[in-house]
């Protein structure tokens, strides 16, 4: 029933050809396995990937320590690392979108754009009088002891500040969401204070 031993082609039997081919395929498969196993972590497109390594975290820790004059707290370190991730993302975003320029230029251009547009968006829709009054009504203890007009102005300013921060954060997330941010084991350990 099998045709393996039939149909000689070009002077070589199909069965013999297949035996050789089988050996080659199995060997190639094993070789492929080895190659894949040693090809490093799965990455995808590196133009959409930001890697934070342990060395990056240690460097940022040293820079932050030099800036504040003491060992940075875990929160400060985390914020500094996130700032680093943002700066890297702005560079990648600048390149992805076709802007030309060095890293510093791209970083500054994207960062400025997000800040400006965030402010513009929040300033275009300031909190309404009803929102300010509702804000005050639900937080009476925070403004206890202030004159009503002072409490109102303070609440309005807080609301505006929060709106600007939220708008900028949203725009930053629009960009950051396009990238895969990966912390390697050493970076995670360094951030965890180990």
């Amino acid at each position: 029933m099998e045709t393996d031993d039939a149909t000689p082609r070009g002077g070589v039997s199909v069965a013999r050809l297949r035996r050789s081919a089988t050996t080659a395929v199995v060997a190639g498969f094993l070789l492929g396995m080895v190659l894949l196993a040693f090809s490093g972590p799965a990455g995808g497109d590196h133009s959409r990937r930001i890697e934070v390594r342990g060395a990056d975290v240690r460097r940022i820790q040293a820079e932050e320590g030099a800036r504040v004059g003491r060992e940075p707290t875990a929160g400060e370190l985390r914020a500094a690392v996130e700032g680093y991730v943002r700066r890297e993302a702005w560079v990648l975003e600048g390149r992805r979108s076709g802007r030309l320029g060095d890293e510093a230029t791209l970083r500054a251009a994207i960062g400025s754009r997000l800040e400006l547009l965030g402010h513009a968006e929040a300033s275009a829709a300031p909190p309404t009088d009803a929102e300010v009054r509702a804000f005050l009504a639900l937080r009476p203890e925070r403004y206890a002891g202030m004159a009503p007009s002072e409490a109102y102005d303070r609440a309005a300013a807080e609301l505006m500040e929060e709106a600007v921060r939220a708008a900028v954060e949203r725009m930053e997330h629009e960009v950051l969401g396009r990238y895969r941010i990966v912390y390697d084991r050493a970076a995670r350990a360094a951030l965890a204070g180990e």
Binding site: G44, D45, L117, F135, R139, R142, E174
Partner: protein, 795 residues
Amino acid sequence: MRVSRLSGAWAVLACSAAIACTAPTAAPAQDSGFAALTVVEEVPGRYRVELAAPAGALSGSLAVVPPRGCAMAGAPREVRWRGGAAVRMEMACDADGIRGQALRLEGIGDPALRVDVELRTLDGREYAALLPPGVREAILPLPPGLAAAGAAGLGAGFGRGFSLPALWLLAACAVLAGVPGRPLAAAAGAFAAAYFAGGWLAGREELAVSLQAVRLLTLLAAAAAALALTRNARAGVAALASPWLLAALLGALAGAAGPSFPPALSSVGTGIAQAAAALGATAVLVGAGMVAATFRWGARGARAEGASSPADARRVAAGGRQVSSAPPGDGAPGPVGDQPPPVASSSHGRGAGQGVRQLDVDPTVTNSPYGRGVPDAPAGDRPSSAVLLLLAAAAALVVPALAGLPSLLAEPAGAPFAELFLAAALLGFAGPASGLRLGAAPAVTFLLLLTAGTGLPPAFMGIEVVRTAALAALFVVAGRLVLGGRVDARYALPAAVLAPVALGGYLRQLMAETAAFPVSVLAGAALAATLVLLAGQRFAELVAPAWRARAGRGVGVGAAVLIVAARLGDHLRWGAREAVAGGSLPIPLLALGLIAVAVLAWPRRRRVAEALGFHAPKGTLHLAALAGAFFLLPFGTLQVGNPFSPPAPPSQADHLVADLLHGTYHAFNLTDEAELYDRLSQSVTGTLVADLYLDSRRRLRAGTAEGDEVTVREVALLDLHQAPLAASMAGTESGEAAFRASWRVTARVRHLQHVHERQNLYAGTLRLRMEDGRWKLADVVLTGEERILSPWSSQ
């Protein structure tokens, strides 16, 4: 000649040296800052133009002068703040649009300031550029042509294929197995085209696939083919008879894994219409090929099983109710590479067709072209289980959408419900919380896009309705399996039509609501469930025919039990939610009506008819009505006051407060403001509604733009302590209770380009009061609040 060449070289060198000496050697200029110009096409021919600049660079009012063919629509709106200013305006342009035009910018005095330009058009293109310092005119380029974008995508697909070693292994297997060059070339083309489609989908964030998953699947396919070759050459041939199918699947996954790899595939350069046309063409080609392959395999299988003519074979393959009494034939062996040997093709046919139809068990009828009632081929001639599973998994996810429905419509009484049951694996038991993570959104997405790409169910149905419809339809499908084919086609057909659409809609809704990780969870769980089911089928195939029916029914019973359990769980949660609020009692009018219908339609003994020897057919309306009553219990209810509802004792306070907070915040998911206000007033007393509405809406929507969606996903009560009625809560009355609580509100914020979660943490004192027969929030004093954005790290 030599002299002349030498002289020319010297001349070039001399000129270069002169240029180098005379050129300015100043250091690159430092950027003094940036302004931002954004142009967004909002409706065809109308553009929103926004220019923002830092305060130090302003020399007057900011303005953008419309180019020729464009005019200002309405007055520009300028806003200023301490650090800068911005102007926003609308422009209406003629048919030629704004592309290729120059926008002149005014009001920027700093000559060193650079302008950052971004353009987004309705067809999905993006363009960005940094203008040189001092340049105040932004020229918007013309879009690239379709041919250029398509060529870039296909080139990238081929290029990516060369970088996957396992694909080379697959190709080697195909060559060694004697697959001719034309199918191999078709496979390469399928890979590139599917890569184009996958990359575009992922670029639109419709699909998320990790490269690891692509490697794993490719390796698995290569391993299966290689192992099949080592064991049985014909099985290898069978596995690779249509390599384009596998190549298309892998191409789509590879494309989705690297969406930005080819520039033409991201939103930069390729318009939505162009990419959608390419996607549609790919889907049509894949679908037509699948149907043709399925029918061809069926026809060959039928010929091998003794069909008398090609016409018979086609009829059999198309699902015709031909009773095949002829014994299975071995068929004449054919040359490898010309066409698959009959035994191999028959096995292959089972791999693609029977593999998904074997559950449709009915040992008394041999009406299927895929071997029902046909003895198994000799074990040595079958493809390996791994190959079978791989092919069946691919076929099971695409065939139901394309091949199942036509045959179903052609022969409703013999409908192949097993395909739909496989589709059930996508949802029924592998919900988003199942926790399985295989890290991929594989061919499930094809099914999703092919069956419910219209987005119809989510467009007019809520998630609960879609889930109910899906579960009910699947219950009917499971019932078909349990009863072995005795469900009337009148009920089975709508279920069969509804199941894929509802499933697709539900899956789409889930995809829309979640980011990449839950999609991976869902798709991975679905794939795992499908594979488990196919493994069960394979097991059933190996046991004696008499056991197959039992195995199929066993699976059906299990499915039915799980579906009923899932729905019962929904009902219990619904009942608990309704009961804990107290005050009102839902009367399920619709369910009661359906039970009444079931009672009326219940088959009765007709003694006279029995005496006369008539046996009227038993209807199934009563069963359908009972099932409907069960599945539709929370719908069509009437809320009546509950006179026995006592004030919540302290032991239930956490449930009560959690439910009130849940009701309060989830009301913000309603888009109709009036309905929102009404819903809010069910949890909040009248005086507090306005303040809570304004404050919560502002916090939930902080930082969102027009078109963004904010959906409250979870309200978690973190801490609760009974508190004395505080003096600050003026007007406290008897029958009230106060609690100090902290809670967390998690909302999903869907922007144009991405989705993320936001959490607001609150701490404060809540005062509860009985009003209109139920407990409500009477006063809230917030003492702490914090907004937390979810980290954007995806790993």
